[in-house]
């Protein structure tokens, strides 16, 4: 009892640590242990690692479960298990980060405030309420896609079904094959993009494929059809093997999941994650045979994804990111939601929760710098000096992607 009183006295000095009380029991125990032993302040310097006998690294944390991360892990890197990286992110990570993972032989991600804000909201989602939409926005290279991946990792570890569209811009540009849709003659199919997406979807959501059953009969051709009550896995296989019908299969998968999530009999929660959501309401560079531009609405994939974006279904969440990097017909410097989404996009997404992803703060920059030093990514001795650090700050303006590129040369 005395220990509890002393703990409460301790907490009165560090009120933010009280959040530790709300996390599940396992984390509570580890937190108590760490507080007893470390007892340091979490002001400028990050709190040291847990009390277990391990080398003290300020920029790393052993808390690899996104559900248990809290403010005291801000700025610290946590490691993603490689099995998770293979299953959850067959297509989701940014290209440069994938190269970094291969070089460093580990996938480390920084814990940052925007991700934890959305994760804490996701923990409190009510299954009976309509899906809430979150939108990450920020300057180019400030870490929006990485934040989205962090949130997806959380959803995966909690057992949600993750429907991840890695880059919606890929669906509105560089289309090698465009077929008129068999289902609706005014729309167009994109078989290649659809098959690739279905393949990656299958890798991520292997366990759910055999559990979810379709509620409707789908007829593909005169001889092929998927009966009611067949598993989702069969539907997905149908799309992968029969490439011509893959876009319609994608539409069917989305419809099934949308209808079934949140129902009392289904036990899964749906997380829809779209990167570059502004592509859905923008312009496309695809041309029809008579050289007129194709409106994104006329593409089956985009049409079905737009239906998913509406919050008329329950039992999950929609997490999206704006992206200017792959966008077509947008200015290089635009990053705010209304200018990238446009009037139509904003009205469709409204009401949503915009979450700003800023450049690194001072603490986060320190952490990143120490991580690169630890991985021997900063080669030159000049970068180890104070002057070198100031040079890095000046050149990159603490922008994460710029810093990563510049450190490769330092």
């Amino acid at each position: 009892m005395f220990s509890i009183i002393s703990l409460l006295y301790f907490y009165s000095f560090y009120p933010s640590l009280l959040f530790a009380l709300h996390s599940p029991l396992c984390c509570w125990v580890t937190h108590v242990r760490s507080l007893h032993t470390s007892g340091g302040s979490q002001q400028q310097e990050a709190v040291a690692a847990e009390s277990e006998p391990e080398p003290l690294s300020i920029f790393r944390t052993q808390e690899n479960d996104p559900a248990c991360q809290s403010e005291k892990h801000f700025g610290q890197y946590y490691t993603l298990p490689s099995a998770h990286v293979r299953t959850v992110f067959p297509h989701g990570l940014p290209m440069r980060y994938k190269q970094q993972v291969k070089t460093f032989n580990e996938a480390c991600m920084m814990v940052r405030p925007p991700a934890l804000e959305v994760i804490s909201s996701l923990k409190k989602t009510d299954n009976s309420k309509p899906a809430v939409r979150y939108l990450f926005y920020g300057l180019k290279g400030s870490g929006k896609t990485m934040t989205l991946c962090h949130t997806i990792h959380f959803c995966y570890t909690q057992g949600w079904l993750v429907l991840h569209v890695p880059d919606a811009h890929l669906w509105v540009k560089n289309c090698k094959e465009l077929l008129p849709s068999s289902f609706n003659s005014s729309r167009y199919d994109q078989p290649l993009q659809a098959t690739e997406w279905l393949r990656n979807f299958r890798i991520t959501n292997e366990p759910f494929l055999s559990k979810i059953k379709t509620k409707q009969r789908y007829v593909w051709t005169k001889r092929e059809s998927t009966e009611e009550g067949s598993t989702l896995g069969e539907l997905v296989d149908q799309g992968i093997t029969r490439v011509k019908t893959s876009s319609d299969v994608v539409g069917a998968v989305m419809k099934e999941l949308r209808l079934q999530s949140g129902q009392p009999e289904s036990d899964f929660r749906l997380a829809v994650a779209v990167d570059g959501v502004n592509a859905l309401w923008g312009r496309s560079t695809i041309r029809k045979m008579n050289n007129t531009a194709v409106d994104p609405e006329e593409l089956t994939l985009v049409y079905n994804l737009r239906k998913l974006m509406k919050n008329d279904w329950t039992g999950g969440a929609i997490i999206t990111t704006l992206a200017q990097t792959g966008a077509v017909y947008t200015s290089k410097y635009s990053y705010l939601p209304k200018e990238l989404l446009g009037e139509k996009g904003f009205d469709s997404m409204d009401p949503f929760i915009p979450v700003s992803v800023p450049n690194y703060s001072e603490k986060e920059f320190e952490s990143c710098y120490l991580y690169y030093m630890d991985r021997h990514w900063l080669q030159y001795p000049h970068s180890r000096t104070e002057d070198g650090k100031k040079e890095l700050i000046f050149l990159s303006n603490r922008n994460p992607s710029m810093l990563e590129r510049i450190c490769g040369f330092h």
């Binding site: 309420k129 309509p130 705010l336 209304k338 009205d347 409204d350 979450v355």
Partner: protein
């Protein structure tokens, strides 16, 4: 006998630098016979005139003939420039009463002008052509202007005592007309730029209701400044100022009456034509009401009264304010933050 005296009169009568050359010439003419006397006199005066000029230009230098003849008697030293003799509290308007070119010895300022010598200063004012070429306003000093004003005062009437503040002037005389007139020294007193007339009026002083004001703004376009609420009509299409003024007044009258008229086709105004975003009846309102109904916030009830009840809620009002502000003012950090807070409150997160 007469001749030498005449010559002497002539020589004495000449001013400044009496030169050896002159004396030489006059001496040379003594032996001329009587008839040629006049001629010689005139010739001498002419030649002395010439020699005077040349002597002024080459002060102090030896004469062109190469012969040095001393005549210190007739050389007059240049005195102090007038600037040394000027008292500090003199009346400057007497020194420069009218526009006059720059006179270095009359202006007690150490002015320098021109391209500086390498490593040195620009040339001084004495003999400086650059200072003479440019126009100067030494005849328009504050003291001179004061004198002008004093001279003009008998011809002026008094400012009306009731109009002692700017606000009262605006209230009684809302229309302000601005014209420019030009004066220049030249063969013609006309200037085509003098025909331009600017007429400015504050829209708040005109009697316009909401619809009329919006129509007026659409009609005038760029001529209206939003920050100062001033409509400026510039007329320059007629050759005379008076005609342009009449035209500007006519334009103002026509604009006012036209903006009060309502045409039949104005009823077809669409959302895209609206100047400002209004939340009532917009997609945003539909969305939020839809979401709230599905969240079953209002409890059971029929369509209209549920909607009314939801609209009356404080969170919904805050949400409405944030969306209107976002759409009208544009996006920045503060509007985005306000929108985020409002959405969180409405969706109860």
């Amino acid at each position: 006998m007469v001749c030498p005296s005449l010559f002497s009169i002539v020589t004495v009568g000449e001013n400044m630098a009496a030169h050896t050359s002159r004396a030489f010439l006059s001496l040379g003419r003594i032996n001329v016979p009587g008839l040629g006397l006049h001629k010689s006199v005139s010739r001498v005066t002419y030649s002395t005139g010439l020699s005077t000029d040349s002597s002024k230009a080459t002060t102090g230098s030896p004469q062109k003939g190469g012969k040095k003849v001393l005549s210190k008697k007739y050389k007059r030293e240049p005195g102090d420039p007038r600037t040394e003799l000027m008292p500090v509290d003199q009346d400057w308007t007497a020194v420069y009463p009218v526009a006059t070119p720059f006179i270095p010895d009359a202006i007690p300022l150490p002015v320098r002008m021109g391209c500086p010598v390498k490593g040195g200063a620009p040339p001084e004012k004495k003999g400086n052509l650059e200072l003479i070429k440019i126009p100067n306003f030494l005849h328009l000093t504050p003291a001179a202007i004061k004198k002008h004003c004093e001279a003009l005062k008998p011809f002026c009437t008094e400012w009306p005592s009731a109009l002692d503040t700017d606000a009262k002037c605006d209230e009684h005389f809302p229309i302000k007309v601005e014209t420019k007139s030009y004066v220049s020294a030249g063969p013609s007193i006309r200037n085509p730029a003098a025909r331009i007339v600017h007429l400015s009026v504050k829209l708040s002083s005109l009697n316009l209701n909401d619809q009329a004001r919006k129509k007026m703004l659409k009609l005038v376009g760029d001529r209206y400044c939003k920050d100062t609420d001033i409509l400026t009509i510039t007329a320059d299409r007629c050759p005379l100022k008076q005609q342009n003024y009449d035209y500007a007044m006519y334009l103002l009258t026509v604009l006012y009456h036209e903006s009060w008229k309502i045409e039949a086709w104005e009823a077809e105004k669409t959302v895209a034509d609206m100047e400002e975003y209004s939340w009532e009846g917009s997609l945003s309102q539909e969305n939020i009401l839809d979401v709230l109904v599905r969240m079953k916030e209002a409890g059971e009830g029929e369509g209209e009264e549920v909607r009314e009840q939801l609209l009356g809620r404080r969170e919904v009002q805050e949400y409405k304010d944030s969306v209107t502000r976002l759409k009208n003012e544009g996006e920045n950090e503060s509007t985005m933050l306000q929108y985020k807070e409002a959405v969180k409150k409405v969706l109860k997160l």
